[in-house]
């Protein structure tokens, strides 16, 4: 049975360096990062990626007050994606719209806030908010989109650590192919900068970045990299079956060519390059492509000393004989946007189908020899003749790996 072809027809995003695809892409090509110092409860000053989208563009003040930051980011991105795809939103059947939002974690922010709140009342739980449960259920970000946009189809989150942004898009692809929905809003979001626990956990693990200049704190592949810059953000796509998109004359950003998700089954936090290699190879097989067919590999690399090297080992194996495959990294600009990382980083490269430019990985002052991959695009963007396919890596804790391949669509 031939599977339906699935295409991206809309993009809604907020990143620490842009609140639309055009602004984000322009800053990636201009080398403009978006990291600043913030004060985190109990932690003090840490570098982080902060988004400055306008929540009130699509939400009432009361929705912002009752909801969560992840919900608000999701609502912004979903509305932007639908607007961008130019579908006749009023006339489509909302029962046939699916919402699939990837998250690394959800509920930490809201739980920490409530514990802090009752600490002011001698830990008396009668001061614990009745909003706690709807804020912390795992489906909260997707549910807030459903409420805001009156979408009555399936709406849920996918917990997949930092592979979640890719997994959200993959889930949407599968549901469109199964015929469960006719239109999908999918990707990933993160509110993680609002929980001290994420920062404290990475610090205890020896994996939290620090640099006197926050814009230089996220530095994958650099010899002096010292860990992760935590960021918030979101990117949700409008996805449709190709025939539906063509029938309504939609702009098509790209086509889902293939994907794979697998598990290391080896450690809670340490990556496993053998499984990462398999994940990329199986995604290529799924797309009926070879390594030579990929022009851009967007790395997951988070700027941890070990993780970057291991991903480079995996990429070196899969793309050993691919002189026209270029490697880049988006976290060097925006930090690690956790659940949003997969979808935001893919978005950073989608425009390459139109402009043929591979955005760089920045902040590489002294390239780690162990990360010196052929065709690693360092500090300055690189223009190539044509970009036909992008492979987007996103890996996460507990050993989840994902590789998503998006290819150019030519009518």
């Amino acid at each position: 049975m031939a599977l339906s072809r699935i295409v991206i027809t809309g993009v809604g995003l907020t990143a620490p360096n842009g609140n639309s695809l055009s602004e984000y892409r322009a800053n990636l090509l201009a080398g403009k990062a978006g990291i600043e110092f913030i004060d985190v409860r109990y932690m003090g000053r840490v570098p982080a990626g902060v988004c400055n989208y306008d929540p009130l563009r699509y939400q009432k003040k009361k929705e912002v007050r009752i909801g969560t930051r992840a919900g608000s980011i999701s609502v912004y991105c979903a509305n932007e994606a639908v607007k961008d795809c130019s579908i006749d939103w009023e006339s489509i059947d909302k029962d046939r719209v699916g919402i699939y939002v990837g998250t690394t974690e959800h509920g930490n922010v809201e739980t920490e806030n409530e514990i802090y709140n009752i600490s002011k009342f001698d830990y008396d739980t009668k001061f614990w908010s009745h909003h706690h449960n709807p804020r912390t259920v795992a489906n909260n970000p997707a549910g807030e989109v459903s409420l805001n946009m009156k979408i009555t189809g399936p709406a849920y989150t996918l917990g997949a650590a930092c592979a979640a942004g890719n997994v959200g898009v993959i889930q949407a692809t599968q549901m469109l192919r199964l015929g469960e929905v006719d239109f999908a809003i999918a990707g990933g979001v993160s509110e993680s900068i609002h929980t001290f626990g994420i920062f404290a956990g990475f610090k205890s693990q020896g994996a939290l970045a620090m640099h006197e200049d926050p814009m230089k704190a996220s530095r994958p592949f650099d010899a002096k990299r010292n860990g992760i810059v935590v960021s918030e953000g979101g990117c949700l796509y409008a996805l449709e079956r190709l025939e539906d998109a063509v029938a309504r004359g939609a702009k098509i950003y790209g086509e889902i060519a293939g994907y794979h998700i697998n598990s290391d089954a080896s450690d809670y936090v340490l990556p496993n390059p053998a499984r990462q290699t398999e994940c990329m190879e199986k995604a290529l097989n799924n797309a009926t492509m070879a390594g030579q067919d990929i022009q851009i590999v967007n790395t997951h690399a988070t700027a941890t000393p070990q993780g970057d090297v291991q991903e480079c080992e995996a990429i070196a194996k899969v793309f050993a004989d691919c002189p026209n495959t270029y490697i880049n990294n988006t976290k060097s600009f925006i930090g690690h946007s956790m659940g949003a990382a997969g979808s935001l980083e893919l978005a950073g490269n989608l425009s390459a189908f139109e402009d043929g430019i591979v955005h760089a990985t920045i902040n590489v002052e002294d390239l780690d020899p162990k990360c010196d991959l052929p065709n690693l695009v360092v500090n300055e963007p690189h223009t190539i003749k044509q970009v036909d396919a992008v492979l987007n890596n996103s890996f996460g804790m507990l050993g989840i790996n994902s590789a998503l391949i998006v290819k150019r669509y030519d009518a």
């Binding site: 009361k62 007050r65 009668k126 001061f127 908010s129 009745h130 909003h131």
Partner: protein, 84 residues
């Protein structure tokens, strides 16, 4: 505390809970839910803010006393005055 001061205090709480609402012309004798977009969760917020900000407890059996500004003032003013 006078009843008018009590109504003002309740309106201040509602302003935070329902920030999109225009509170300039709230009729004191009309149910709050009939003139503002307030749901049951919002009334729980009012109860919570009375507890947090003013140490006033409203038992669940008395929630209906918060129906209008007038009934709020009738019910809450003695509670406020009992605090001092």
């Amino acid at each position: 505390m006078t009843k008018d001061e009590c109504k003002k205090l309740v309106l201040d709480i509602i302003a935070d809970i329902a920030p999109d609402e225009d509170l300039s012309d709230v009729k004191p004798d009309v149910k709050l839910r009939d003139q503002l977009e307030l749901d049951s969760m919002d009334f729980l917020d009012i109860v919570m803010e009375l507890r947090k900000q003013h140490s006033i407890e409203v038992p669940e059996a008395d929630y209906q006393e918060l129906a209008s500004l007038d009934s709020c003032a009738e019910y809450l003013t003695p509670k406020f005055n009992a605090l001092v």
